[in-house]
């Protein structure tokens, strides 16, 4: 098995598919950001009749020529989409749908014709264009892929700034006088090139995944476009590497599905573990917020009840009456606060602040009342900054306003003060 992996041919294929993945991932990221993810899919599907026609004209299998045929009919596919949108009332999604089905239809018909008509029809290897096949890749194929991928990379780097603005804010790009139409066309052409060189390895049905998955996965790890492109390239490379190794190990399966499945595993991992917007990070942030917010709510309610009754002891029943919490929730909040050393449970169903807890409760209550006061007195300031996660207003408004609010709260006797002995103990 190891010898199989180290075979000369496997290394050639490994190199080819990895570079292909990196190039497609980078170019594809821009397509995703430009909301043109499906264009790549359309190009891939539209390429099939071109491959067949190229074979019919030449009468023998010649990869370069067939890829040129694929490029021609792929580009024809996008031109037809653009023309349908521009000159008829067909909308873009419908236009893409038409190309996505009519071109492969024509392609399948032609390929059946080739297989029936010519004696060497089965040698055309047309089926590898549908589901992908890496085994037959030769050294010149890899050179072709390398050159095309480097070309795509170079264009993306040189026109990085232009592509960025066009993808983010087309109207602004036009207002600068930039030829947005031609930049879009160039981006689509790069996508077409990336798709076409990937066809023999990945196949028309799954090529779009190689464009979309790396960029979509990379988005979970970064908020910066530069890093996104870099990570997408790396993910594409990795997809190619892993996919090729597995398709060499399981040679019964077509390569396309295995490569695409490798890509989707990377995507899935990113979706779950991505440091920027992955599910785990979001869940953790939400948990943290919930815990912090719940703790503050408990301290507020307890302080409120205690100052109303004048008793240091507060029963869970009072808290329940005060807030719309379930008994289980109150219990959970109390346990959390107790383990943070803010409150202590008494033998009855009652709790009491620890000295540190009282200091904290006064702090939280002050913050909360300042927010309330700010919302009442300065709604135009508070409306845009009010946030359940921020405990205090001092990040958002000037000290003068805070002093004003504090004075107003003191006048209404709503400014919580620490009992002197606790304050001294806290110091």
């Amino acid at each position: 098995m190891i010898e199989q992996l180290l075979a000369y041919n496997t290394i050639v294929v490994l190199l080819g598919v990895s570079i292909l993945g990196a190039g497609a991932g980078m170019v594809g990221s821009f397509a995703v950001l430009r909301k043109r993810a499906l264009t790549g899919d359309a190009v891939a599907h539209a390429a099939l009749p071109g491959v067949c026609v190229a074979f019919l004209i030449l009468g023998e299998r010649n990869l370069t020529f067939m890829l040129l045929g694929a490029l021609a009919s792929g580009v024809l596919g996008i031109v037809i989409i653009a023309a349908l949108c521009r000159w008829t009332r067909v909308r873009e999604d419908a236009a893409i749908g038409i190309v996505l089905s009519v071109f492969p239809g024509l392609g399948f018909a032609l390929s059946r014709m080739i297989q029936n008509m010519t004696t060497n029809g089965s040698k055309a290897g047309l089926e590898s264009f549908i589901l992908g096949k890496t085994a037959g890749m030769t050294r010149p194929d890899v050179y072709l892929i390398l050159a095309s991928a480097l070309f795509c990379l170079a264009v993306v780097l040189v026109l990085y700034k232009e592509f960025k603005v066009v993808a983010f804010d087309t109207g602004f790009a036009r207002s600068l006088g930039w030829p947005v139409y031609w930049l879009d066309l160039l981006l689509m052409s790069l996508i077409a090139v990336a798709v076409v060189i990937g066809l023999p390895a990945v196949g028309i049905i799954m090529m779009a995944a190689l464009l979309i998955l790396p960029g979509a996965g990379a988005r979970f790890w970064t908020d910066s476009l530069g890093w996104l492109l870099f990570i997408a390239g790396a993910f594409g490379l990795l997809t190619g590497l892993i996919g090729t190794v597995f398709s060499a190990l399981f040679s019964l399966f077509p390569a396309g599905p295995i490569i695409v499945l490798s890509g989707s595993v990377i995507f899935l991992i990113s979706m779950l573990l991505g440091t920027r917007r992955g599910a785990m990070v979001r869940l953790l942030e939400h948990r943290c917020f919930q815990r912090d917010y719940g703790e503050r709510q408990l301290l507020l309610a307890t302080y409120d009840v205690a100052s109303r009754t004048g008793q240091a002891r507060v029963s869970a029943a009072d808290l329940l009456a005060r807030k719309s919490w379930s008994p289980g929730k109150v219990n959970g909040l109390i346990s959390n606060a107790a383990s943070s050393g803010l409150v202590e449970r008494l033998e009855t169903d009652e709790i009491r602040f620890t000295p540190a807890g009282l200091v904290r409760a006064v702090e939280v209550t002050r913050g909360h009342r300042l927010w309330e006061e700010l919302l009442t007195e300065y709604p135009e300031l508070a409306g845009s900054v009010v946030n359940l996660a921020s405990e205090s207003v001092d990040k958002y408004v000037e000290p003068a306003i805070i002093a004003d609010l504090t004075a107003s709260l003191k006048r209404q006797s709503r400014w919580p003060e620490l009992p002197t002995e606790t304050a001294e103990a806290a110091v």
Partner: protein
């Protein structure tokens, strides 16, 4: 001297339905100008047609005596906030930097000088502390301010703004107004689509009333009259009342 903006006989149509019909508009002097009119009156369309973002069926536009295509570097643009995807992976400073791209020219990357200038512009709108944030993490009003900072970074002579005060809170609206006034004092011209009739006399000194055709244009004191508003909005009373109040408030203001 040639006028700042000369819109001549502009017609824009979708299919055969006109959105703007034979609009003539001349702004001679630097102004803080509002374009006002009911929904669907073609306010945004006028700005987009002037900038060449959408094709005109007929007509011509000159900025400072030359066709728009030759004056791109003197034009700043603030699109509607809803027109872009705020989830896009760029930081606040990145967006402001885009304002320098028009001067940079093809292929060139923004350098230290551009970054410094973008920081200054961001500082002007009071968002310096957010420069590294992803743009989606800002509030709506802050997003609008980022767009304004980008326009400032363009160092333009004439600014076109599509609803710069739409959906922002009162405090941000005040900041935006101060910025517009400062630009105006530097001799720049601002042409803003504005939706709130009540604040027209407070914020602007020149107004164009638009409803597919240009109903009236000129200084606010003489043009923003109940009669012209009736022509623009038809007989919709609630709006006219609001405008009447606005006129009163405007005449009472110092």
């Amino acid at each position: 001297m040639s006028p700042i903006l000369d819109i001549h006989d502009v017609t824009v149509a979708y299919q055969r339905k006109p959105v703007l019909w034979d609009v003539d508009l001349i702004i001679e002097q630097p102004q803080l100008a509002a374009i006002v009119g009911p929904n669907g009156a073609g306010k945004s369309t006028l700005i987009k047609a002037v900038l060449g973002l959408i094709p005109m069926a007929s007509g011509s536009v000159q900025v400072l005596g030359e066709p728009v295509a030759r004056q791109r570097k003197k034009i700043g643009y603030v699109p509607q906030r809803e027109s872009v995807d705020w989830d896009f992976p760029v930081s606040v400073l990145d967006v402001v930097l885009m304002g320098t791209y028009g001067r940079l020219g093809w292929f060139r990357r923004p350098g230290h000088a551009e970054r410094e200038w973008a920081r200054q512009c961001l500082n002007k709108v009071g968002l310096s502390q957010f420069e590294r944030r992803q743009i989606g993490q800002l509030s709506g009003g802050q997003q609008q301010l980022v767009f304004l900072a980008r326009a400032l970074a363009q160092k333009a002579e004439i600014y076109f703004m599509d609803e710069p005060m739409a959906g922002v809170d009162a405090a941000t609206e005040q900041i935006i107004f101060e910025l517009l006034r400062e630009l105006r004092q530097q001799g720049k011209t601002i042409i803003a689509v504005h939706h709130d009739l009540r604040t027209v006399p407070l914020y602007f000194d020149w107004v164009a009333l638009l409803n597919m055709r240009l109903v009236a244009s000129g200084p606010v004191e003489t043009t923003f009259t109940p009669e012209n508003l009736r022509k623009t909005y038809g007989g919709r009373l609630a709006i006219l009342d609001a405008a009447g109040e606005a006129m009163k408030a405007g005449s009472e203001a110092p």
